[in-house]
Symmetry: D2
Subunit: 429 residues, 4 copies
């Protein structure tokens, strides 16, 4: 099934040093226009506004997921593990490379506003009239369906799905290392080589040798730290909120037949929820940023102000709240309206664990497969039953409320118009 | 003159670990819209098409240049060197931070086609009606002029200019380390801390203690390697050439009154050479990439083809030539025309050292200040007089010709139409 | 009190890049023969037999503790914190540099056998007739007493003691980073720069800004991992046990008036518990290893066998036990005696948490000062009250029993002589 | 011939992350007492007195050379290069592991004084009555002879010898990276993975693809920097000189029938040039340091003084001389004698390039094999013919004279006794 290249190709990569390509199919997939498009989508969305190094793209992450998968499989093959279905090698590699190919610009905000799902788009691109589909079809007519199946987690062999998508998959292993590298924090570093060495295919699962338990703990602690130090950083959340408000406003204006000075067809189709695969291809971060720049000159004041804020990084301020009192929030909204500030677009309450917070929680309604330890008597145990560390971080309730609002509210001139308890809520005193 | 922040601010930076801001002026400059715009300009232009990690922006580099300058000055102050004009501290820091603020998208290609200069734009932004100008004017009415003077290298104190612009300046020290970090190559690494430790202000110059000569050699070798491994990489050059051809074609079409399906005002002003500072602000890489995407659907076949090539990374192939024979190139052009390929837009000869190749060459008509060694008898000597290594790399003539052309020329079907010597030239046999 | 050097001196250090010396007193202390002796004592005792990179000495660690202390104080001074008693700077630096100066070779085993304490020796060296004492006395006649007071934790200002000795002191911050670097594991890495930045002198304590809580969690997790992956590694423990048995045997022989073929006076004084400071100076790891080599040819078979085992790394094997049954151990001893193996010297039960296991446990009878968080209302809270992570690792009961014994017991030839339950205990089946 | 382990074993290594052992023969060799002895010999002799991190042993370097060799061969096998004689795999690995097994303590000084050669000892250990010989003999009766042949560079296949010993061999690749890591300098770092990737077996040679020329240049520059920054550092040379003088003095005393208070048999045999393999085994650095410590109390003043200097790092001072004038040196010797200082033991002239300075010099009478580049027409060219950088560093004449002498000569009290020109020579004014 595989069609080896005459000579191994390499990509220089800051995280894995080199990424090795040995199959023509992988090489051809990387050179499709749909895969090249990932260069125009940032891996961490708005996070570069908090950590200026985080400007890396989904292109480099996708290559990284492929490379981690390749290393795992290469280890399985070198050790000739019987439980490894070696005929699935190319399928795993392709799914690893392509699992994020449907990501759009600033996915979180757009998905939240328009109800799209990047996994669906990955499958549409794999199955549609695309260069990727043509490359995959050369392997076999049913190969695109198989790849889409792995991405959608419906493929019939768990072991294949779990390499790409589980609590300890190639996706997470690459993004923790990569995001740590580019942001410059060192929380995300863990011993990848050791984790790969204790991985085993076993009775249809990917499991970890028990002797590697501390390495897995270390990996899970990295994840915990990355979530709280990087992914849920309130400045990043503030930028996400502004983006979401921009799309909400634009959608509202569109529905009210507002006449936009600047509009491009892929965006229009997004509003109409009628995007084709071809239009989706054009919908990259360059386009979205151009739109934001152009809209910063729109006559609608809310839209233009929010766009300007995003571009110039004049983000909302935030305060931390232990709890939310509905009545008080209502009064804050009224105060804002009194000051001529529309709370629908200038006030937000955020609770990060609403997001797919995935520090490992067994028993949770999480679609991700759990981490299993294999002892030297061939017994499997879910890790939190053996590791005190994992058990303790699993039970931790993490989130706190953040209230986001524009700095103007804190200006002295408006002090008198604001009731004392609201002033206290906003930390004005 | 300086106005310290109540509490030091920090930016997490992968290269310097942290970037420390202690002055309100610096903090305010970073928050201007003109400085934030640098987030939308890549540091290495098209290099990300060769090294996928090289997606970092001029924003992070500019912070880095500031930080290196801050560290140098802090060392000078800690050691209370008498030759250091301490009143110039804030000026140095501001010039370091802002020296690249005039960079546009894909500067090399645009400057080559339209004759703009990023240094001029840096000065226009510093002196024009901008947020940056307002922040600088708060220091003193003449401060913007002074900052522009340092950037333009006309300021009357060499020591101030040379911190930002010399053979061993904060600019180069940051970009070598940063570009090495993001590309993932390790050629660019040198011992920054040691170099900073042997720097001295001395009689109006910045000089190096002779005991640090080997550290300087190491830095110059890093530069040499970065030039040949990264900056002049033929794949990067190939992308630059395509971009240049795109702008050339668009300019030609504009002059022929071609009606573009997609056009935005800043671009039009670029064609007309009438850009205002406000329009220049909108001319970022997001806009340029959106234009390329839209133009990939233009009816002009050359323009749309070149844009598609750039976006999908279907770059020109290249062959290395020891020398160029005018007659043979002419025959190659004729061959291409015979095949219906316009050589004006599909053929290029590139000689990297045409670029500002700046491995250190004493006596060259280089505006950059040389590196001076200070021995323990307070004598200054230009480094190549003492270092065999520096002398030997200074004399090396590096460049080779590369011939760039589209892969179609190599297709078998066209074999017959191509004369044997041209086939040999293109490496077809 | 301080006497600055004419020019800053530096040491190249792999962990901190450079170590900066600015005071003549520090420079002179480093050049004393007692401090140079630390080059002949390994930082991690027998750990190099498990991690071959761990061959670094207490000399480099002591410089590192000094450097971390210097950085902390320099931050305090730069920010002009009022609660910092700036007159204590030199005292802190000297105590940091010298706190380990009394360490002997393979401290744990020797202290366990002969009842010595390295802290006592540090104080004896500081106060005795030594070069160190002479250098310190030049500062002031009472200065040696003050330094000894800080090392002994009896000095009257907690803030001075806690820099060198607390749950988050310069000692631990250096050794975690250093031991991680030299072993090559990456568990021990944490963001030193960030931790230094959130440290504050406050009302006589060293405290941490609450905003740095996650950084402290990360540091404590590093410590946890280093303990279980490195310091308590069973192979290291196995080597420690053999060393302890060697000293026990030698002491027994000495008390039985055995005539050693090879003996040196410092060792004799160690047996007699009459070591002088001058003899202690000669008692370094070179001497101990030479003694082990010579004793490997002693006629006493137990002593010569144990020494040979240590030198050639033929260590005891181990099995993990959930619990210890006294009766079964007794039968194992009898089995060994039946096979002609003396269980007093060839059998050991080890429970690592008998050692000074110091993952943070509030309320424990630990002499180390706790970690206090300072919120923005100037309230202090002990960290485990705020951090779920710290609370959860504090409560974890870590240790497990390991049974150590020579591999011969597992040999097939002896199989028949061993009862089935003992065979099972030793993992023979 | 190979006998694979049931399960791969690993060593954690700071330089290569992990060292993989797959053959029982390699595992058994590592566990011999002769190989374990390398833990008691420092890799860089006296260099730890200059760079305190350089305390690593020849044990870790030998594992590293093995690992680099294993990686090279594994690459050759993965690519199924026809010119690779795959039957030589185990021989290469064993020779790589064992090539330094004959190193004694402080090799340079001892070899210089007593005329021993570590290569000879490596062969004697491989061929003698040793555990290593027994392990090798299990492979085949002639295998020890083959391994000794590779170490002695007399083996009939150049390709096997050159993996372990050439201008670009596994030995150098490991020691540059390892010495850079442990000293903490970053000059020695180069892109090992890339160099391995461009290596090829070709017609009986190991060659480099021409496309990797810049990587080789980078490696050679690393070597150049390491020589001048680390290996030839004058402080390290000063310690070497003192050691050499100690051995010279001891030898002289021995020949004069001086009665040593402290003496051990291996040392005596060294004096008598009658060392057996068994005695050589005992001659480790622990023994040498113990001897130095004991001799620091000898009644011979020169011997005791020199030993004290070495242990307490009271090294000789040095001045740099452009040239040496015999007459002036003679007068300096007389001056010293006048001051009661014996110039035979307290004065030395050092010229580092007397040592095996091995920055690449083609045409030199160097036994090391040159570096050959392979172009895509299968032509081989010696690298300096293609690389300007290599050619230029090859021609550089590096060394300078250093004059070493005790600091006492600089003391003011003796000023009057010293003639002005000698004062100037010593830099006293």
């Amino acid at each position: 099934m595989s069609n080896p290249l005459r000579e191994e190709k390499v990509f220089k990569d800051p995280v894995h040093k080199y990424i090795y390509v040995q199959d023509r199919t992988i090489w051809d997939l990387i050179n499709t226009k749909e895969f090249q498009r990932l260069r125009r989508i940032r891996q961490l969305g708005t996070c570069f506004l908090t950590f200026h190094g985080a400007e890396h793209s989904r292109f480099s992450h996708s290559l990284g997921v492929y490379e981690v998968t390749r290393k795992i499989i290469s280890q399985f093959e070198r050790n000739r593990y019987e439980d490894w279905p070696s005929e699935e090698r190319l399928l795993c590699l392709c799914a690893a490379l392509l699992h994020d190919v449907g990501h759009g610009p600033f996915s979180h905000s757009i998905e939240k506003t328009f109800g799209t799902h990047h996994e669906d788009w990955s499958c549409r691109i794999v199955l549609g009239n695309t260069e990727i589909n043509r490359v995959l079809s050369e392997v076999s007519p049913t190969f695109p369906q198989q790849v889409a199946g792995v991405i959608a987690k419906t493929y019939h062999k768990e072991i294949v799905v779990s390499l790409v998508s589980s609590q300890l998959d190639a996706d997470r292993m690459d993004y923790l290392l990569r995001d740590a590298y580019f942001t410059g924090v060192n929380y995300g570093t863990f011993d990848l080589e050791r984790i790969l060495r204790v991985m085993r295919p076993f009775q249809g699962h990917i499991v970890m040798k028990e002797s590697g338990m501390h390495a897995v703990e270390d990996y899970l602690m990295s994840r915990y730290q990355m979530y709280w130090q990087v992914y849920f950083h309130p400045v990043t959340r503030s930028a996400e909120i502004i983006l979401h408000k921009i799309f909400q406003r634009a959608k509202q204006l569109y529905e009210e037949n507002y006449s936009f000075t600047f509009m491009l067809s892929p965006l229009l189709s997004l509003f109409r929820q009628s995007l084709t695969v071809q239009e989706y291809h054009m919908l990259d971060e360059a386009l979205m940023q151009t739109v934001l720049m152009q809209w910063s000159y729109e006559k609608d004041e809310i839209l233009s102000d929010l766009c300007t804020r995003f571009l110039n990084r004049s983000l909302f301020k935030y305060v931390l709240l232990e709890q939310i009192e509905a009545k008080q929030i209502e009064r804050l909204r009224e105060t804002m309206q009194g000051l001529g500030i529309d709370p629908d677009f200038y006030l937000a309450i955020d609770y990060p664990s609403d997001l797919s917070y995935d520090v490992y929680r067994p028993g949770d309604h999480d679609e991700k497969l759990p981490i299993l330890l294999l002892d030297n008597k061939d017994t499997l145990t879910e890790i939190s039953l053996k590791s005190d560390i994992v058990r303790s971080i699993s039970g931790i309730h993490m989130g706190k409320y953040h209230l986001y609002f524009p700095e103007e509210l804190l200006l002295h001139s408006q002090r008198k118009s604001i009731a004392p308890d609201i002033r206290k809520l906003l930390g004005m005193d």
